[in-house]
Symmetry: C2
Subunit: 181 residues, 2 copies
Amino acid sequence: MAPRKQQEIFDATLRLVAEKGYDGLTVEGVAERSGVNKTTIYRWWPSKAALLGAALVEADLLEFEPPDTGSLRGDLVALVEGIRRLLTEPPARDIAVAALGAAVRHPELDARRFFADRFARERQVFERAVRRGELKRSVDPMLVIDLLAGAVWVRAVFRGLPLTDDFANQAVSAVLGGVAT
Amino acid sequence: MAPRKQQEIFDATLRLVAEKGYDGLTVEGVAERSGVNKTTIYRWWPSKAALLGAALVEADLLEFEPPDTGSLRGDLVALVEGIRRLLTEPPARDIAVAALGAAVRHPELDARRFFADRFARERQVFERAVRRGELKRSVDPMLVIDLLAGAVWVRAVFRGLPLTDDFANQAVSAVLGGVAT
């Protein structure tokens, strides 16, 4: 399939899940909105779960480029800012919250692929930090990501609280420098 | 309503949401399982969202007692262990994941009350730590909770990865001591 056509299908998929939630997402609806025949879509993605899973990773709409600011602190602040935008600014917010919320109830919608794909790219932030001598060698990079991404999710989605302009800085300072005296 | 009867209703509510998800939860189902008349339940809780919201905070099944081990490190490890059990061990796991996953799509099911109630009790851990001089004064206790609770949620629920026995220690060490060299 032509890459541009594929992006139109992914775009329609993500916008539909944002509008109607996972339960309201159908391959028929995606076919209608993207102008691509339903049987063509099914030939590439055998279910709506597979289609949404692919869209979360491959859609231009959720494109993710790991930062390279020159320091671990700068990179982590940029990562947290990106996650904040993903979880609080439309249309990404409605897509991410609907899709990740649904993944909890529908294991066939494989959120693990989304997180694994992002982490594969986030790794380079930590590899550079290790080369620059900025990160303790005993530290698991995935733990750092999970602490920071998790804090944004809990604060913005579960608590429904606004994230202050300084949230990324505070969270990164806590994780880099520690909160103990 | 007698406290014991109320706990039977909450218990039925939480077990039903774990089994059938939020969409499958009905006040009729709770009435049937708890042996309490439907109209009696509606008199106390006007909707299934209100009933589940109350059950999450008030049910003995999800009882939460903040730890008091004598040190901030000990208390935080115990808190993370408690969150790990809540999100990975049945029946709590199925209740918490179904209810919190549903709260994302159904704002009328107020997850904020669950988090606010827990945080009101977690605060004392940080108040004692400040008195013992263990916590930097600039640190926001809610940020510490959100980092740690968020990491458990991302790792266990979104990534679907097992939490090692050492996860709580590693996460608490990272947040207390920092990951920067």
